[in-house]
Symmetry: C2
Subunit: 272 residues, 2 copies
C-alpha cells in the first residue's frame, strides 16, 4: 500500500539513494535533501535501525548539521518494542525530513514493519514531509522489497527474494549499489514475476528525487537503470526450475544519468 | 560487409559461442556443430590464431574427433605471412566446418584482417560451410567488434572500444563471457553509438545457432541477452565526456534461455 494521499496536500519527496553517497566532499544529494526539508528551519529525524553500528545515527546528525539543517534527532530504534515507543513517534511528528540509513534492509522490515513508527512515516510523507534513505533505506521504499539475490548480468529462476517493504512508492522495486554490485540479474528476476512492477536500480552516490507526482529526477555521479516490463511478451518464470536461465521477451530499459527524469505513473523517460 | 550471398545457395550456420563451452561432458554445442558439418563426413578446419598456447589446435582436433568428426585440420596461423599462405587456403576449401578458438580477438583482427584466409572464410560460409567460434572466435563474427571495455552494469562514455571484425553477420555486435564477466555496460555502450547495431551478449557454455535466414536458436546452459536500440529515443553519447554516466532512453532487451529464438533481420524474439 502506498502512502495515502491527503486531499489538497502534496506528498513529500521520496528519495532513494544507491548507497555510498558523498557526505562531506561535494555532498550534492544530502545537501538537496536538507534544502528540501527547510535548510536552517529543517528538523531531520534519522532512523539508524538498519545499521548495527552504534554511531551511525550520530554520524548522520553531524553531517546534516554541517549541511545547515536547523535541528536533527537520531531515533535509536533497534527492536520492536522501541518501534512501538510513543516518544519516538512524537519526535518524528516534529520532523520536516526523515532519513533512514544503510545496513540490512531485513532489519528495517522485521523491526519497523506494522509498527506505529512505520505508520507515522507513511502518514507524514503523505502530508508533505520529505523522505530520504540510503542503501537499505532506499530498498525499504519498495512495496515488494529485494531482500537478497544473485549478483550477475542475467536472471535465473529463484535468483531474487522479495519480501514486503514499506511501500512508500507503489509498484516500484528499488535496488541499490546497482552497478557496483552487478545487480541486473536480480532486478530482472524481480520484475519477471509480475509485470506490474517497475524495477529501479540505483548506483552508489546517485539518487532518485521522486516528487509528489511520482516523477523523479536523477541526482549524483552514477546512473539509474529503469527496467519496465509492461510490454513483456513472455516470461518463463512460471515454468523454469530453480537456477535455470530465464527467458524474458521485450523488456524496456532506460539508463538515466544526472538530470534525466522518469515518470513512474506514465512509465515515460525524459532526457532532461 | 557481411558474407556475400550466393544465389540459390543457403549460407552456412554461423555459431558464436560465449566461451568455456563443455568439451567432453555433455558437449551439446560442439556436438551439434559437428553434426551440422556432416558428422562422420565432416572435415573441420580449426584456426587457433587467437590463442598463444601451442596445443590449442590439437586439443580441438581431439575433441571434434571424439565427437565423431570424420577429419580435422589445425591451421597454425600465427602471423600475417601465414595468413597469406595458399596451402592453408587450400585446406580450408576442403572443409565443411570452420572453427575459430578463443584467445585474444585483436590477434584475430590484426593477423587475419584483409588476408586470403579471411576472404576464404567469408566465401565458404556464403556457399554453405558452417562456422563456429568460441570467445574471441565469437567476437570476430561482429562487423563492429568489441576489443575491450569496462565491466559493470551501466554504460559510460568511452566504456567500450570497437574495431572492425570479420563481419560474418551484418549489424551485430557479439560479446561473450557475458554474465560471467559482467558485460552489460560495454554492450550498452557499444549500441549507444549507432542504433543500427544489435547487441548480442552470450554467456559461457551458450551459443547462438544463426541459420541462413539470420534467425538464431539458443543452445546451452546460460542465456543470450539481446540489446535492441532500434526504438532508442535519446543517447547522450555525443555530448557526454569520457567516463561520464550515459543516458539511453528506450532500449529493448530480451533475455533468451535455451530453445528461445531471435530473428536478427526482423529484430523479433520468440520463446520457442
Amino acid at each position: 500500500m502506498p502512502s495515502p494521499s491527503i486531499v489538497g496536500q502534496e506528498r513529500g519527496y521520496v528519495i532513494p539513494i544507491g548507497g555510498a553517497e558523498n557526505k562531506l566532499n561535494n555532498p550534492e544529494i544530502l545537501s538537496r535533501f536538507v534544502e528540501l526539508a527547510g535548510g536552517k528551519n529543517a528538523t531531520i529525524g534519522i532512523i539508524p535501525t538498519a545499521s548495527k553500528l552504534a554511531d551511525t545515527g550520530a554520524r548522520y546528525q553531524a553531517i546534516f548539521e554541517s549541511l545547515g539543517a536547523g535541528k536533527t534527532h537520531s531515533l535509536p530504534i533497534s527492536n520492536r518494542s522501541h518501534a512501538n515507543d510513543e516518544s519516538y513517534v512524537e519526535i518524528l511528528k516534529s520532523c520536516t525530513g526523515i532519513f533512514i540509513t544503510g545496513g540490512n534492509q531485513l532489519r528495517l522490515s522485521t523491526i519497523l514493519g506494522g509498527t506505529p513508527i512505520a505508520q507515522t512515516i507513511r502518514r507524514l510523507i503523505a502530508s508533505g514531509v520529505h523522505y530520504a534513505g540510503t542503501s537499505a533505506g532506499a530498498a525499504i521504499v519498495s512495496q515488494h522489497m529485494i531482500a537478497g539475490g544473485k549478483a550477475g548480468a542475467v536472471p535465473t529462476e529463484g535468483g531474487v527474494s522479495l519480501v514486503p517493504g514499506m511501500g512508500l512508492i507503489n509498484t516500484v522495486v528499488v535496488d541499490q549499489h546497482f552497478n557496483q554490485r552487478n545487480r541486473f540479474a536480480r532486478l530482472f528476476s524481480a520484475v519477471s514475476y509480475n509485470p506490474s512492477l517497475l524495477g529501479i536500480g540505483i548506483d552508489e552516490n546517485t539518487a532518485a528525487f521522486i516528487d509528489g507526482e511520482n516523477t523523479f529526477t536523477v541526482v549524483g555521479s552514477g546512473s539509474i537503470t529503469v527496467v519496465d516490463p509492461s510490454n513483456i511478451e513472455y516470461s518463463s518464470a512460471a515454468e523454469a526450475r530453480e537456477g535455470d536461465a530465464l527467458t524474458l521477451l521485450n523488456l524496456k530499459v532506460h539508463i538515466l544519468a544526472a538530470g534525466a527524469r522518469f515518470s513512474i505513473n506514465d512509465r515515460q523517460a525524459f532526457k532532461k
